[in-house]
Symmetry: C2
Subunit: 194 residues, 2 copies
């Protein structure tokens, strides 16, 4: 099982003993998905949290008008799950779909709870992980309120240059909350402005 990337990631935040690593590893499931497959579907209950080893996923929801809104992308060393559904057993508002062949590590709700009890350090680990995710989420709200679409695109480009290369432009537009046509216009503006 290729869990080394996850252990490396964890050890940057907390230090686990060999026994703890072994125990935690026993609670994990390694899994491969093909491009196009769904890890989670809107309406289902999200029972696992996924740590991405390789590949790329999009998290999105489809609104009443059938329009897709991408909430986030996930690549190597990112977590993907609908935490709201995961923690409260509620039907998920989101889909998580692979946009590349993807390898990931899953941990189920019951197993993560067992691991928390056995290794309290993991509470610390996930507190810190979620703190960071929350801060990033707040910053995104701020950007959405005070920046134009063009500025948001430039921030995205600068923050995630590798992601932009890997996904079609219409998905970037969806992530930015604008239409693909308008992103196209923005890009030609940028290209012609010097």
């Amino acid at each position: 099982m290729k869990i080394q990337p996850l252990l490396t990631y964890i050890n940057k935040i907390v230090t686990l003993t060999e026994d703890e690593e072994l125990y935690f590893a026993s609670k994990l499931v390694y899994r491969k998905y093909l491009k196009g497959q769904y890890i989670l579907q809107q309406g289902d209950i999200c029972n696992t949290s996924c740590f991405i080893i390789s590949g790329c996923v999009k998290m999105f929801y489809v609104d009443d008008l059938g329009q897709e809104h991408i909430i986030m992308f996930g690549v190597e060393n990112w977590w993907a799950s609908d935490l709201g559904s995961f923690i409260s057993h509620a039907p998920s508002d989101f889909n998580v779909q692979c946009i590349e062949n993807t390898e990931l590590i899953q941990i189920s709700r019951s197993n993560i709870e067992k691991a928390y009890s056995k290794i309290p350090k993991l509470e610390r680990l996930f507190r810190i992980i979620i703190e960071k995710a929350y801060v990033a989420s707040q910053k995104r709200i701020v950007r959405n309120f005070s920046m134009s679409a063009k500025q948001r695109y430039l921030v995205f480009k600068q923050s995630y240059p590798e992601i932009e290369q890997r996904i079609p432009q219409y998905m970037v537009a969806s992530y930015l909350g604008i239409t693909k046509e308008f992103l196209s216009k923005i890009k030609s503006q940028i290209a012609n402005q010097h």
Copy 2:
């Protein structure tokens, strides 16, 4: 020191022994602010997290054009702090200002770290608190992307009816990410539509 509301709040999430409560309480500072006073100012480092006992605060930032954007309100039993600044010692992007006389309980970064070490259960407590905050933040991003200003206003009204009563309308507009003039228009539309 009036920390009972905080202990009551905590005990809904984790169970502390009497000793643990005493230890934790020894790390807290009770404080009163007057309407208009700042708990945190943009550019300062946020060194404390605040639990509100009574009163109301707004968290906002002022953009390059001098415009104020309200990120959240805090009332009884809510936390207020710039977590990004708090966890990374970085200058804060936000102001937190009292819009009513406010009583709150502060815990400093160093004291919360001490408390985490002494009482690992607190890691769990704050993991759970931040999980909830993160989920709420994600939901707000979704709303901002897929709902009109009118719909967002109606959701706000329904979610926080008590808050709407306590704050001026132009602050609601700022929180919703629209101008006060447009909120006024929305309200008259709603009033005239039956």
